[in-house]
């Protein structure tokens, strides 16, 4: 019996050591190789920053087109996903009957389990079918990628909106009802405003998810050399795809250094987003703990 406990502690401390070693070596390696190239030159190459940002001159050796592509992709994705995502979350938390709740949340769970590469394949097949039917000149493009990404991040959004509303104490609803509000008024005027930090946290969380995903966009229109995104119907560059592409196809040390810089940039953005989301969500709890005391 004693031996079992010792065995368990050895395994546990060993696993902590393995994980710390693995993660820290990867991250430190990335910082060492990438920190040096993380400067304005990484973004714009030899083109002056002002000209690059306003697309006056093309950027040949910087990652600005990929940054712009990623930002536009993120924007379009969130525009598509935000209304159905938040509405569905609110509906599940406040209005759905038990049967509906059961049915819809099963769907959300299954949707959350679909691998992103399958979502990419869905996008590819969709455009092939569209080409055969009523959009003969259609091609994989930014809008298609954003659409597939939106489906991919919907579950994240729905689950976090739902749980941040359900985490609110039930006395809020009781008080609101006692004051004569209808249920819809209560949701609109009390629950949603109070749950807002949590909802925003969920939005940011799903933004992080959309920004890092590579598998979807590589089947739905991301390419290595497109320049600045030319519109919703055009091919585009994106940061994660740029990293993926560099790992396999780099031709010079310079390009490799840029790859490290890009990977580090994506990592830092990702961490910043998750930190922001956590701050929002912690704010939600703190607000209620504060009221309690």
């Amino acid at each position: 019996m004693k031996a079992r406990e010792i065995f368990l502690s050895i395994i546990s401390w060993l696993s902590l050591a393995i994980i710390l070693l693995g993660v820290s070596s990867l991250v430190v390696f990335l910082f060492m190789r990438g920190a040096g190239s993380l400067n304005a030159n990484l973004f714009f190459g030899n083109t002056p920053a002002f000209d690059a940002i306003f697309a006056l001159k093309p950027v040949w050796s910087g990652i600005w087109p990929a940054v712009a592509g990623s930002l536009l992709l993120l924007l379009v994705t969130m525009i598509i996903a935000i209304i159905p995502g938040i509405s569905c979350g609110v509906y599940l938390a406040c209005f759905a009957s038990v049967r509906e709740k059961n049915y819809i949340s099963t769907c959300v769970d299954v949707l959350a389990g679909i691998p992103s590469i399958v979502m990419g394949l869905f996008g590819l097949e969709l455009i092939i079918v569209l080409r055969k039917t009523f959009l003969p000149q259609g091609n994989t493009c930014l809008l298609l990628a954003a659409f597939c990404l939106a489906i991919l991040v919907l579950p994240t959004l729905i689950v976090s909106v739902r749980s941040s509303i359900e985490a609110l104490p039930s006395r809020l609803t009781l008080t609101a009802n006692a004051l004569g509000m209808s249920h819809s008024q209560c949701v609109k005027n009390v629950l949603i405003p109070i749950a807002m930090p949590g909802i925003l946290g969920g939005v940011i969380l799903s933004m992080g998810r959309a920004m890092e995903d590579t598998a979807v966009i590589m089947l739905t229109g991301a390419v290595a050399n497109a320049g600045l995104p030319a519109g919703l119907g055009a091919k585009f560059e994106a940061l994660p795809f740029r990293i993926y592409y560099t790992a396999a196809q780099y031709t010079s040390q310079e390009e490799l250094a840029r790859g490290f810089g890009t990977a580090l940039l994506l990592l830092l953005c990702s961490w910043a987003l998750i930190l922001l989301a956590r701050i929002f969500q912690a704010h939600l709890t703190r607000k209620w703990e504060g009221v309690k005391s």
């Binding site: 401390w13 569905c88 949707l111 389990g113 691998p115 890092e212 598998a215």
Partner: protein, 279 residues
């Protein structure tokens, strides 16, 4: 009071369910269609040779299963170790550090993991074990690492709740922290451990980036950890579908349908398990 549900919200909820239905139906339909119209291509065969018109994806199915199971086993043990540390084996401040590390790990993009590993781990494996370094072992290690946060969060959620509820009782019975963990908390959190494993399996099978970047992508049956392999997900991400309707394209559709079916079953199983616990 609850009768006047807002139509717009309800519409959106139904819409989400409909989207899921559409995606599933679409992928499954294409997969089945690919299977029926291509009996001569031997899609479920073990031979992949486009020259002779054979597009068997059996080797990729084997690669997916092997890679996912090996990564899952390693990752699951690591997660369990972390959870034990957080629920009794280690002091509070270490538990806090572990949670921080887990949250940071969860936010690392897969492509960044892959990129760092290509230039850090692959040369190490190549020098130590020979071969190209792009192999089952490399991909499995990274996939295990990548799966740790999700599994740890699921397991720790259940274990810390059980721990809180039973702490006082077992302390008054004279249990030490370690005994409390091994004799009370761990036996009671079996379901959470299994559901973490199931969800981890779904993630490991479905991940496309790490196998594509690290496993070498040769289409053949892998026999040793230094063999190159191509998983179903890597297959989808690698084949550029220039010939629509050809054998390669049909094999993609079948791979997609298989992955979708598997992951849907996994999600439903995990859901069933977690719901069973609550009731």
């Amino acid at each position: 009071m609850r009768n006047n549900k807002p139509v717009i919200l309800r519409g959106c909820a139904v819409c989400v369910a409909a989207i899921l239905g559409t995606v599933t139906a679409f992928i499954l339909y294409s997969g089945i269609e690919a299977l029926t119209q291509s009996s001569r291509l031997a899609l479920f065969g073990s031979v992949w040779s486009p020259a002779s018109g054979k597009f068997g994806i059996l080797a990729m199915i084997q690669a997916s299963i092997l890679l996912a199971l090996s990564a899952l086993t390693l990752g699951w043990v690591l997660s369990l170790g972390l959870c034990c540390l957080m629920n009794g084996l280690a002091p509070k401040f270490i538990a806090k550090i572990i949670m921080l590390v887990i949250n940071m790990m969860a936010a690392i993009p897969t492509v960044v993991y892959g990129f760092a590993a290509v230039f850090l781990l692959v040369p190490v494996i190549r020098d130590a074990l020979g071969g190209t370094g792009f192999c089952w072992l490399t991909a499995g290690m990274l996939l295990a690492l990548q799966g740790v946060p999700a599994m740890t969060i699921i397991m720790n959620g259940a274990m810390s709740q059980i721990s809180r509820e039973s702490k006082l009782t077992s302390q008054s019975l004279g249990f030490t922290n370690v005994q409390h963990l091994t004799h009370v908390v761990m036996p009671l959190s079996g379901k959470a451990m299994i559901s973490a494993a199931i969800i981890g399996l779904g993630r490991a099978v479905g991940d496309a980036l790490l196998p594509t970047m690290l496993a070498g992508n040769a289409i053949r049956f892998a026999h040793s950890p230094v063999d190159s392999m191509r998983t179903l997900t890597a297959h989808i991400s690698l084949v550029l579908s220039s010939d629509i309707g050809g054998g390669e394209h049909l094999s993609l559709l079948l791979a997609g349908a298989l992955l979708l079916t598997f992951c849907a079953i996994v999600s439903l199983a995990a859901r069933h398990l977690i719901r069973g616990k609550n009731s």
